[in-house]
């Protein structure tokens, strides 16, 4: 009978594992190995679950800080804050556009009236400087209004970035909850049916609670 193969590191192994390696009972060895691997998996998934919970709590604290600072939103989470910022910037841009659209006809009319006045005013007429000044002002106002309209483009550009950031946060939250669901299943805790789509802080909290987080 040949000498059993021995691992070089077995002096560092726990007694139980050393005995197991020396065992000649194949099925017992397989069962014990499965148990060890399963225990390791549980530890890994518990750790992942803890990490997921910590990350989720961090997101929730982030939202709470906004609420505490006086921004009154019923469900204050980062995604909603970004959407609210987007909405506010759109409102501000639209108010500026309202103003520009309201003033443009007045500026055009002033230019036209000033031009007409200049045509029929004699060189020595005391109204001439005023007509010239009105024309300059009308033209400058028209240019300024056009610039103001153009400046609102930044609402569109910043809005698209906000959309991307909000979508990213949504993806992180969904991935996080999927991770929590998977870790819950793998450590033997049953989900109640299939995981529903998660779209709000309340959904997130409910799902986390189902898995004991």
């Amino acid at each position: 009978m040949s000498t059993p193969y021995r691992l070089g590191l077995d002096d560092d192994l726990p007694q139980a594992l050393r005995e197991l390696l020396d065992s000649t009972d194949g099925p017992a060895f397989e069962r014990a190995l499965d148990a060890i691997v399963h225990q390791r998996e549980r530890d890994v998934f518990r750790t992942l679950g803890q990490l997921a919970r910590d990350l989720h709590e961090t997101l929730r604290r982030f939202s709470a800080e906004f609420a505490r600072d006086g921004v009154a939103y019923v469900a204050a989470d980062a995604r909603q804050e970004l959407e609210a910022a987007l909405e506010m910037s759109a409102q501000a841009a639209n108010r500026s556009l309202d103003f520009a659209e309201r003033m443009r006809p007045d500026a055009d009319a002033l230019v036209q009236h000033a031009l007409a006045e200049l045509e029929r005013t004699a060189d020595d007429d005391p109204a001439l400087p005023l007509a010239r000044r009105a024309l300059e002002f009308g033209l400058a106002t028209r240019t300024a209004l056009a610039d103001m309209v153009l400046a609102q483009s930044w609402q569109d550009l910043s809005g698209r970035r906000i959309h991307k950031a909000a979508a990213f946060i949504g993806n992180v939250e969904s991935a996080l909850l999927e991770l929590v669901r998977l870790t819950g299943e793998l450590v033997g805790e049953e989900a109640h049916g299939t995981a529903p789509a998660v779209s709000s802080q309340a959904d997130a909290d409910r799902l986390l609670a189902e898995f004991g987080f």
Partner: protein, 142 residues
Amino acid sequence: MGPVENMLDKNMRILVVDDFSTMRRIVRNLLIDLGIRPKMIQEADDGNNAMAMLRNVRFDLVITDWNMPNMSGIDLLRSIREWDKIKTLPVLMVTAENNREQIIAAAQAGVNGFVVKPFSAATLEQKINRIFERLAVSEASA
């Protein structure tokens, strides 16, 4: 203004497609600055709605954003080119990114012009004029 302004047909019917209402208003304002009559400018908030409008009304030009939900600008462009009735309709693509891949994809799909946001009325005018200049040349040589 110079001779360039005179080339723009003030009576052309234009469809502005963008999911951001702010941007649609801005483009509308720029077009009005260029002398286009307000009632000739219509708006859609995505490619699907634009296609629905194109089925019912004859337009002379489409100015569309690239990034939109439901149907993006590039898909709208492809849909236009696939539909015999409007396949030659000029399309000016608007994008927030000066992205080489986007430009190549749009060119391959048959775009007529490409403009990066933000843009001024003068730039918009230049792009529109360029589109119709090229169309005139290709029609003359056909």
